[in-house]
Every structure is written in C-alpha cells, then in structure tokens.
Amino acid sequence: MTLVEETPLAAQPATAPDVRDVGVPAPRARWFTALRHGRGLAGALLVGVVLLAGLAAPLLAKYPPLEQIPGANLVPPDAAHWLGTDEVNRDVLSRVLFGIRADLLVLVTAVPLGALVGALAGLLSSLSAATDVVAQRVFDLLLAFPVLILGIALAAVVGPGLTTVGLVITLAEIPVFGRLLRGAALRVREMPYVEAATVVGAGRWWVLRRHVLPNAVEPAGVQLAVSLSVAVFVEGAMSFIGIGIRPPDPSLGSIIADSVSKLDANPAMALGPLAVVVALVLGFLLVAQALAAGRRVAG
C-alpha cells in the first residue's frame, strides 16, 4: 500500500473533487455559517449555556450537591434555594448543576469513542467482502437491542454506574457510525473519479483516505450532533430507572425520578432538571438540523 502513496498520482489532488476549487466554502467554514443564525444559533446557545453552567458548577452552586441543609425539607423555590430543596434537604439547583457534569463527561468521552470505533470498523470492514459480512452481522446484532434494552442488559451484567452509561452509549454508537462510513465507502467506490484513480494505480487505502473520508466527514458531523442528543437522553433515562448514576451522586435523570412523587410539594424539583435535559437534547438536535440543512444548500 505504501508503494501507491509514493507514485506521482498521490501528489495530484485533482482526482479528488476539491470543494474549495469550485467556489463552495470548505465544510468547516460552512459549519460555522450554519451555527451563526436561526436554528443553528438557537441550538448552539442552548447547548453552550448548559455546558458552561455545568463546567462552572463549583462556582455557581451555593451548596455542595450532597449537603443536607437543616430545616429545609422540600421547600418550594425561594431566594436561598432557586429550585427549592428535595426530600432529604438538599439544594436542588446545586444538584442539577453538578448533575450536568455527569452528562458532560459522557458527551466528551463515550460519544467520540463510539463514533471513532464505529467509523474505523465501517471503513476497514468495507475493504474485503468477508470482513464486511462479519461487521454487518455484528452491527445487526447490536442494533437488535434498542438502546435502553442494551442499557438494562449491561446494567444486569456489570452493575449500574457512570461507566455502564458510557459503555452503553459507546456500544450503541458503533453500528450507527459503522453503517454511515460503510455506506459512504460503497457509494464513493462507484464514482467515476474513483474508478479513474484505480485504473491509474491507486490502492484501496489511498481511495479510502483520499476519497471516502472527505466525503464522509460532513454526514458524520451531523450524526455526531444527533448522537450527542441521544447520549443525553440515554444518561437521563438510565439514571431515571435506576441503572445509571447511583444516588446520592447527582444526575439529571435521578433527580427527575425522585421528584415524581414530590410534585405536590416542590414542582420546581422536576421542572429544573427537565428544562436542562430539554435544552441539551433539543439544542443538539437543532444543531444537527442546521448542519444538515447547510449541507443540502451547499450540495
């Protein structure tokens, strides 16, 4: 394979449809444009505000998330406790702020890891028919478990916890990105310019790096935004049914679960974390829509 890269062909980028040459802005520039107005801006703001609040939780929270405040049992929102307190006298706002951090951790680790492993599996398996069949069946198998059911299965085996949540999200993303990249590889392979490149001696690796990857970057970006939104949902759902982050550690899902039976006394205990979950899930989805729309306009 390295032989191919040293041929003069590798030095001629003209075989690749370089978008910059035909006057369309590069993907990165297009993404920034998509995020600067309308849905994209709204989504970016929603996500940005929540993530910043999570990052700054130690500065913003007035109480430690686990501190039990004497005499403040299920009080409704007031000046001291903006979202009131819960059934064991903890400040709900502080717990929500620290709960965002669990999501943050999952978003920056589990989702990129799943995307990377899935993308590699999709790309590499597309190189030979045998690995392709195996990879396809593995993806089928993973997809046969709806993500929450997968969560239940893994929680049963390795026990509940943040690691389990991360593992579930990573496993759920692998087939999604695997199929995306495999599809891109198969589509690009049929293109005349790839045929031309193969005729003049380009190897499979070269085609993969020079033609498949650039074509897959944009759909993968859109999918990444969708996957981040799904990850927030999965963390919340797993913690909600008690197979995610374990109490007393704060998590958006478990605060919501605890609040269901306390809606009479302190509805803000539900509304606070609900608003945060909605902002994150909807924010990422709006970003995904804006990126996809920007792609269509440019294409």
Binding site: R137, A144, F145, L148, A156, V157, F240, V277, Q289
Partner: protein, 319 residues
C-alpha cells in the same frame, strides 16, 4: 412473495440465535452464584450441591444453553430465583398490561400522524407547516421521562383530572370509561415520539408523491387537490409509513420501560426493573430475549408487509 420471505429469514434467524447466545453467556459472567444466593450464607456444601443440581448449574455451560433454549421453545420459561413463581406467569401478567399500553400508543400515534400529516399537506399554509415541523422536532426530541413528568404535573397535580399512575383496579374490560382515564396519560406519553417520527415520514412521502407526473395529469384533468391527496397520494404513501412504524418498535420497547416507571404501570418494563434491582437473572434473561425477538420479528414483518404492498421491493428482493 414466499421467495422474498425465504430470502429475509436467514439473517433474522442468525441475529436471533446470536442474541440468545450473547444474552445467555453475558448473564453467566455475572459475579455471584445463584445457588449461594438461594441457599443463604450458612448453607452446607451438600445443600449447595443439591441446589446447583436442581437448577441444572452442574452441567456444562453449552448444555445449559441447549436446555434453556429447548425449554423456551416449548413455552417453559423457567422459575424466578427471587421474585418467586414461574416466569411464564410473571411474563404473562406483565405482557397483558404492556401490550394494552403499546397498542393504545401505536393507535394514537397512527391516528395523530394521519390527521396532522394529511392536514399539513392539505393546508399548504406556511404557518401550519412551520408549526407542525416545530412541534414535531420537540415531540421527537423530548424523552418520555420529560413529557411523562410534565403530563403528570399538569393533568394530575395542577389540574387533577386524571390518575397519576397505575392500572384500572377492576381490570381493563370492566369499565371502559375508567380504563380510558388510566390509559390516556401513559399512552400519550409513549405515543408522542412515535407519532412525531411517522408524521414527518408521512408528510415527506406525501410531498414526494405530489411531485409525481400522475398528480400533474390529475390536476390538469381538473380533479381537486384534496381528492388527489386523499385518493391517490395517500394510498401510495402508506407502504413507506408501515416501514416507518416498524422502525419505531425500538422506541416503543425502550419507551415502555420509562413510561411504566413514571406511571407505575405494572408491565414487563416494571418486571425487568425489578429483576435487575433484585438480581433475578433468569427473569432478566427471558425479558431481554423477548425484547430482541419482538424487535427482530417486527422488522421482518415490516419488510414483508412493505413487500406485499409494494411489488418493486418484492421483485428486487427475490433476485
């Protein structure tokens, strides 16, 4: 048609068998021995061995798998270690509640999609379109534990008109009016994301149909738009809606677990939650396999239904 079904069966079977092996072996890897749990901490080695033999745990693992699968196929799901009783009874009790909930939600979703989707296409107003798109995105994005809690807060706490959870005490058939009251909130909660997804699908495929040449011909002949949408475009768009509905079965399976937790609905979702928290692995095992089987089966049925409705797929598939 038969050839099409025959061509789709092997891969479905492979997934199902692989999933059953995976589920079986995963739950064997769990730390802790059920015999020790059952016998208690001070049991004698003889008692332990007796329990292991009675549970079949002294056999080689592959034989245990074969026995387990054989028993499953004949309808004997085994015994629960900790919840107690035969798993078949536990599953049947939960199954009725879950099926009632899921069917109600699916019906609501289809009804909603038909009314809103066809309405949005018929109206041609930009405001209606923007409203439907916005509401759709929200309904699609909001997790059931968000909409569920909001529904309880609005309709059971702030404005207490509906029960906050549970199933009708006298059974579903006894008093239909009471049943509707109990069913409404959880079914709406489960139906929302499904309804949003298939509405979007229906609107897209209706618009695709309306761009076809036959629609142009029909309009040139003076047939009213409304009639074209309802009589021509809608029947042509329905097959793809079946597929969209089939894809949603995963959402419904996962959503049912959440919805049952919010509305204390004693179905299979509650049973699996109980199974995990009490480490009753035989129950969890059966329910996981059941969920995968339902998922694979519904996908297969969807493909077959789609092929039956759309000859192009069937012919392409049998090549």
């Amino acid at each position: 048609m038969l050839r099409y079904i025959a061509s789709r069966l092997p891969s479905a079977l492979v997934v199902l068998v692989a999933a059953s092996i995976l589920i079986f072996s995963l739950l064997r890897l769990v730390p802790g021995d059920p015999a020790t749990t059952l016998a208690g901490p001070d049991a004698s080695p003889e008692a332990l061995a007796a329990i292991r033999a009675s549970l079949g745990l002294d056999e080689p693992v592959w034989l245990q798998y074969v026995h387990w699968l054989g028993a499953l196929v004949t309808g004997d799901l085994g015994r629960s270690y900790l919840i107690g009783g035969r798993i078949t009874d536990l599953v049947l009790a939960g199954l009725v509640n879950t099926v009632v909930l899921a069917v109600a939600a699916m019906l609501l979703a289809v009804l909603f999609a038909l009314v809103v989707g066809v309405g949005a296409v018929l109206s041609r107003s930009r405001t209606v379109d923007a409203l439907v798109t916005g509401a759709n995105t929200a309904a699609l994005a909001l997790p059931p534990f968000v909409t569920g809690v909001l529904l309880v807060l609005v309709f059971a706490v702030v404005w207490p008109v509906l029960p906050a959870g549970g199933v009708p005490p006298a059974g579903f058939a006894a008093r239909p009016d009471i049943t509707v009251q109990y069913l409404l909130l959880p079914a709406v909660c489960l139906a929302l994301p499904v309804a949003a997804a298939i509405t979007r699908f229906l609107v897209e495929s209706l618009r695709t149909e309306l761009a076809q040449p036959y629609v142009l011909t029909a309009r040139a002949l003076g047939i009213p738009r409304r009639r074209i949408v309802l009589r021509q475009a809608l029947p042509a768009a329905l097959p793809s809606m079946v597929t969209a509905l089939g894809i949603q079965v995963g959402t419904v399976l996962g959503g049912a677990v959440l919805v049952e937790a919010i509305f204390t609905w004693p179905g299979l979702g509650q049973l699996v939650e109980q199974g995990i928290s009490r480490r009753d692995y035989p129950v969890v095992q059966v329910l996981l396999l059941l969920s995968v089987a339902v998922f694979v089966l519904v996908q297969l049925l969807t493909d077959v239904a789609h092929a039956a409705l759309d000859p192009r797929i069937r012919i392409g598939g049998s090549l």
